[in-house]
Protein backbone atom coordinates (compact mmCIF):
# COMPACT_ATOMS: atom_id res chain seq x y z
CA UNK A 1 0.00 0.00 0.00
CA UNK A 2 2.83 2.36 0.97
CA UNK A 3 4.67 1.60 -2.24
CA UNK A 4 1.55 2.41 -4.29
CA UNK A 5 1.13 5.69 -2.40
CA UNK A 6 4.76 6.61 -3.03
CA UNK A 7 4.38 5.91 -6.74
CA UNK A 8 1.30 8.08 -6.91
CA UNK A 9 3.17 10.90 -5.20
CA UNK A 10 6.27 10.66 -7.37
CA UNK A 11 5.14 12.91 -10.24
CA UNK A 12 3.63 15.74 -8.13
CA UNK A 13 6.61 15.72 -5.76
CA UNK A 14 9.05 15.81 -8.70
CA UNK A 15 7.12 18.73 -10.24
CA UNK A 16 7.10 20.53 -6.88
CA UNK A 17 10.83 20.08 -6.25
CA UNK A 18 11.87 20.91 -9.83
CA UNK A 19 9.60 23.97 -9.98
CA UNK A 20 10.76 25.18 -6.56
CA UNK A 21 14.42 24.95 -7.58
CA UNK A 22 13.74 26.99 -10.73
CA UNK A 23 11.65 29.50 -8.76
CA UNK A 24 14.39 29.94 -6.17
CA UNK A 25 16.97 30.43 -8.90
CA UNK A 26 14.78 33.11 -10.48
CA UNK A 27 14.37 34.75 -7.06
CA UNK A 28 18.10 34.81 -6.35
CA UNK A 29 19.24 35.77 -9.83
CA UNK A 30 16.44 38.05 -11.04
CA UNK A 31 13.41 39.10 -9.02
CA UNK A 32 11.38 37.65 -6.18
CA UNK A 33 8.17 38.78 -7.89
CA UNK A 34 9.03 36.55 -10.85
CA UNK A 35 9.91 33.80 -8.39
CA UNK A 36 6.54 34.15 -6.66
CA UNK A 37 4.74 33.74 -9.98
CA UNK A 38 6.82 30.65 -10.79
CA UNK A 39 6.14 29.21 -7.30
CA UNK A 40 2.41 29.70 -7.91
CA UNK A 41 2.57 28.02 -11.34
CA UNK A 42 4.57 25.17 -9.80
CA UNK A 43 1.99 24.69 -7.05
CA UNK A 44 -0.86 24.63 -9.58
CA UNK A 45 0.92 22.11 -11.84
CA UNK A 46 1.85 19.87 -8.88
CA UNK A 47 -1.73 20.13 -7.64
CA UNK A 48 -3.11 19.08 -11.03
CA UNK A 49 -0.70 16.11 -11.11
CA UNK A 50 -1.77 15.16 -7.57
CA UNK A 51 -5.49 15.32 -8.33
CA UNK A 52 -5.19 13.49 -11.67
CA UNK A 53 -2.87 10.83 -10.25
CA UNK A 54 -4.99 10.12 -7.18
CA UNK A 55 -8.36 10.20 -8.90
CA UNK A 56 -10.06 6.86 -9.36
CA UNK A 57 -10.58 7.76 -13.01
CA UNK A 58 -9.98 4.96 -15.51
CA UNK A 59 -8.15 7.31 -17.86
CA UNK A 60 -4.68 6.56 -19.18
CA UNK A 61 -3.48 9.96 -17.92
CA UNK A 62 -4.52 9.11 -14.37
CA UNK A 63 -2.81 5.71 -14.52
CA UNK A 64 0.40 7.13 -15.99
CA UNK A 65 0.67 10.10 -13.63
CA UNK A 66 -0.45 7.95 -10.69
CA UNK A 67 2.28 5.37 -11.38
CA UNK A 68 -0.07 2.44 -11.95
CA UNK A 69 0.27 2.05 -15.72
CA UNK A 70 -0.08 -1.35 -17.37
CA UNK A 71 2.01 -2.33 -20.42
CA UNK A 72 -0.12 -0.43 -22.97
CA UNK A 73 -0.21 2.65 -20.76
CA UNK A 74 3.57 2.49 -20.39
CA UNK A 75 3.74 2.61 -24.18
CA UNK A 76 1.39 5.60 -24.15
CA UNK A 77 3.70 7.27 -21.60
CA UNK A 78 6.73 6.52 -23.77
CA UNK A 79 5.10 8.01 -26.87
CA UNK A 80 3.97 11.09 -24.95
CA UNK A 81 7.48 11.53 -23.55
CA UNK A 82 8.93 11.13 -27.04
CA UNK A 83 6.59 13.77 -28.46
CA UNK A 84 7.38 16.14 -25.57
CA UNK A 85 11.13 15.61 -26.00
CA UNK A 86 11.07 16.18 -29.75
CA UNK A 87 9.02 19.36 -29.22
CA UNK A 88 11.44 20.56 -26.53
CA UNK A 89 14.45 20.00 -28.77
CA UNK A 90 12.82 21.80 -31.70
CA UNK A 91 11.86 24.68 -29.38
CA UNK A 92 15.41 24.84 -28.01
CA UNK A 93 16.79 24.84 -31.56
CA UNK A 94 14.48 27.70 -32.60
CA UNK A 95 15.33 29.61 -29.40
CA UNK A 96 19.04 29.09 -30.13
CA UNK A 97 18.56 30.42 -33.66
CA UNK A 98 16.60 33.50 -32.55
CA UNK A 99 19.08 34.25 -29.76
CA UNK A 100 21.98 34.07 -32.20
CA UNK A 101 20.19 36.40 -34.66
CA UNK A 102 19.38 39.02 -31.98
CA UNK A 103 22.90 38.63 -30.54
CA UNK A 104 21.70 37.35 -27.16
CA UNK A 105 23.27 34.51 -25.18
CA UNK A 106 22.39 31.32 -27.02
CA UNK A 107 24.59 28.82 -25.20
CA UNK A 108 21.89 27.55 -22.76
CA UNK A 109 19.74 26.41 -25.71
CA UNK A 110 22.74 24.96 -27.46
CA UNK A 111 23.58 22.99 -24.30
CA UNK A 112 20.05 21.52 -24.25
CA UNK A 113 20.28 20.38 -27.87
CA UNK A 114 23.82 19.03 -27.41
CA UNK A 115 22.93 17.10 -24.26
CA UNK A 116 19.87 15.55 -25.92
CA UNK A 117 21.92 14.48 -28.96
CA UNK A 118 24.66 12.97 -26.77
CA UNK A 119 22.14 11.14 -24.55
CA UNK A 120 20.36 9.89 -27.69
CA UNK A 121 23.60 8.42 -29.03
CA UNK A 122 24.44 6.90 -25.63
CA UNK A 123 20.92 5.47 -25.53
CA UNK A 124 21.40 3.78 -28.90
CA UNK A 125 24.62 2.24 -27.59
CA UNK A 126 23.20 1.18 -24.21
CA UNK A 127 19.78 -0.09 -25.30
CA UNK A 128 20.85 -1.44 -28.66
CA UNK A 129 22.98 -4.44 -29.46
CA UNK A 130 26.25 -3.27 -30.89
CA UNK A 131 28.46 -5.34 -33.18
CA UNK A 132 26.39 -8.50 -32.94
CA UNK A 133 28.49 -11.54 -33.66
CA UNK A 134 27.02 -14.09 -36.00
CA UNK A 135 26.60 -17.34 -34.15
CA UNK A 136 28.67 -19.97 -35.91
CA UNK A 137 27.04 -23.22 -37.00
CA UNK A 138 29.50 -25.23 -34.90
CA UNK A 139 28.76 -23.39 -31.65
CA UNK A 140 25.02 -23.66 -32.19
CA UNK A 141 25.41 -27.38 -32.89
CA UNK A 142 27.38 -27.78 -29.68
CA UNK A 143 24.66 -26.08 -27.65
CA UNK A 144 21.83 -28.09 -29.11
CA UNK A 145 21.10 -31.36 -27.27
Amino acid sequence: MNRISHRRLRTPVFALVFGSVISTAIGIGQSWIGAAITYAVTAVVAGIFYVVGWSESESDASAVIGGRADERQKLVRLRAAQAALVTAVIAAGIACLISAIVKAAFWPYEVIVDVVVVVYLIGLRVYGVSFPAEESQESSDEQSP
Binding site: E58, D60, D70, E71, R72, Q73, L75
Partner: protein, 69 residues
Protein backbone atom coordinates in the same frame (compact mmCIF):
# COMPACT_ATOMS: atom_id res chain seq x y z
CA UNK B 1 -3.69 -9.03 -36.31
CA UNK B 2 -7.20 -10.25 -35.56
CA UNK B 3 -8.39 -11.72 -32.30
CA UNK B 4 -11.50 -13.34 -30.85
CA UNK B 5 -11.10 -11.86 -27.40
CA UNK B 6 -14.52 -10.24 -27.36
CA UNK B 7 -16.24 -13.51 -28.34
CA UNK B 8 -14.28 -15.52 -25.75
CA UNK B 9 -15.08 -13.00 -23.05
CA UNK B 10 -18.77 -13.11 -23.92
CA UNK B 11 -18.76 -16.92 -23.80
CA UNK B 12 -17.46 -16.80 -20.23
CA UNK B 13 -19.92 -14.06 -19.33
CA UNK B 14 -17.15 -11.70 -18.26
CA UNK B 15 -17.40 -7.94 -18.42
CA UNK B 16 -14.46 -5.93 -19.74
CA UNK B 17 -13.71 -4.88 -16.17
CA UNK B 18 -13.73 -8.53 -15.00
CA UNK B 19 -11.33 -9.54 -17.75
CA UNK B 20 -9.11 -6.54 -17.04
CA UNK B 21 -8.97 -7.52 -13.38
CA UNK B 22 -8.05 -11.14 -14.21
CA UNK B 23 -5.31 -10.02 -16.59
CA UNK B 24 -4.01 -7.28 -14.26
CA UNK B 25 -4.47 -4.59 -16.90
CA UNK B 26 -6.77 -1.59 -17.25
CA UNK B 27 -10.21 -1.76 -18.87
CA UNK B 28 -8.92 0.59 -21.57
CA UNK B 29 -6.31 -1.98 -22.47
CA UNK B 30 -8.98 -4.68 -22.80
CA UNK B 31 -10.96 -2.32 -25.05
CA UNK B 32 -7.84 -1.63 -27.14
CA UNK B 33 -7.05 -5.34 -27.39
CA UNK B 34 -10.58 -6.26 -28.45
CA UNK B 35 -10.65 -3.58 -31.11
CA UNK B 36 -7.22 -4.64 -32.39
CA UNK B 37 -5.71 -1.22 -31.74
CA UNK B 38 -3.13 -2.66 -29.36
CA UNK B 39 -1.01 -5.77 -29.82
CA UNK B 40 -0.21 -7.36 -26.46
CA UNK B 41 3.26 -8.32 -25.33
CA UNK B 42 4.05 -12.04 -25.45
CA UNK B 43 3.60 -12.48 -21.66
CA UNK B 44 0.17 -10.82 -21.80
CA UNK B 45 -0.80 -12.85 -24.89
CA UNK B 46 0.13 -16.03 -23.01
CA UNK B 47 -1.85 -14.90 -19.95
CA UNK B 48 -4.89 -14.32 -22.18
CA UNK B 49 -4.50 -17.71 -23.86
CA UNK B 50 -4.11 -19.50 -20.53
CA UNK B 51 -7.13 -17.74 -19.07
CA UNK B 52 -9.29 -19.19 -21.84
CA UNK B 53 -7.37 -22.51 -21.85
CA UNK B 54 -6.58 -22.12 -25.55
CA UNK B 55 -3.41 -22.06 -27.61
CA UNK B 56 -2.23 -18.56 -28.39
CA UNK B 57 -3.00 -18.91 -32.11
CA UNK B 58 -6.63 -19.72 -31.29
CA UNK B 59 -6.97 -16.27 -29.72
CA UNK B 60 -4.79 -14.21 -32.06
CA UNK B 61 -4.70 -14.74 -35.80
CA UNK B 62 -2.15 -12.72 -37.77
CA UNK B 63 -2.93 -11.35 -41.22
CA UNK B 64 -1.25 -13.38 -43.95
CA UNK B 65 1.01 -10.48 -44.94
CA UNK B 66 2.36 -10.28 -41.39
CA UNK B 67 3.60 -13.86 -41.28
CA UNK B 68 4.75 -14.33 -44.84
CA UNK B 69 8.37 -15.49 -44.93
Amino acid sequence: MKNVLRELRSELGLSQADLASKLCVSRQTVISLESGRYLPSLPLAFRIARLFSLPIEAVFQPDEAEVRV
